[in-house]
Amino acid sequence: SQTIHQWPATLVQPVGSPLSLECTVEGTSNPNLYWYRQAAGRGLQLLFYSVGIGQISSEVPQNLSASRPQDRQFILSSKKLLLSDSGFYLCAWSGYRSLSSYEQYFGPGTRLTVT
């Protein structure tokens, strides 16, 4: 069965510090991968998605970036965090070109607090 991991689970970082959040998927190959952010009391906002190694699509202009160095690894980064980057970050995967590729499955999330 497929599993998706995210780490760290929680993170407290000062303004201006760098960020690296990691997501890995097991039990499937060539998945589509997604990064979402949920701000307090808000819905899920799509930040980036990737359909393959090195292929990144950005949905929202911001000081965050994403990379996909391996098939089942997706990384969210920032060079300098802002207070507004605080939130709950979620990684998700879906099948590639499969009948159910519209169904996305989420990881446990990372709670980021920028102080």
Binding site: Q6, N32, R42, G43, L44, Q45, L46, Y49, V51, Q55, S57, E59, F88, L90, A92, S94, Y96, R97, S101, Y102, E103, Q104, Y105, F106, G107, P108, G109, R111
Partner: protein, 116 residues
């Protein structure tokens, strides 16, 4: 521009009764709709979905209804249980993109409380 709207931020029901969660959308090109359930500090879990070619899909205590003419869908939970207390998000898929991916567009969520 909110393409998927959940106008009720919260809902409280008695255990054993029916819970009805509503969702409206604006884009007639959406072709698949999903409901997710989310507990605090956890990722959303997929609950049930419906294709735009159907008007009803049922899975145990959960039923999703789709009214395309009204651009409205609803999730019915019968009977409601205290463990159903969570935030429920509806989502809609964009049409298949050139890179063979789908994007999910989420509503803002409805917090359901089932009282024992």
């Amino acid at each position: 521009d909110q393409q998927v709207k959940q106008n009720s931020p919260s809902l409280s029901v008695q255990e054993g009764r029916i819970s009805i969660l509503n969702c409206d959308y604006t884009n007639s090109m959406f072709d698949y709709f999903l409901w997710y359930k989310k507990y605090p500090a956890e990722g959303p879990t997929f609950l049930i979905s419906i294709s735009s070619i159907k008007d009803k899909n049922e899975d145990g205590r959960f039923t999703v209804f789709l009214n395309k003419s009204a651009k409205h869908l609803s999730l019915h939970i019968v009977p409601s249980q205290p463990g159903d207390s969570a935030v429920y998000f509806c989502a809609a898929t964009s049409p298949l993109l050139m890179d063979s991916s789908y994007k999910l567009i989420f509503g803002s969520g409805t917090r359901l409380l089932v009282r024992p």
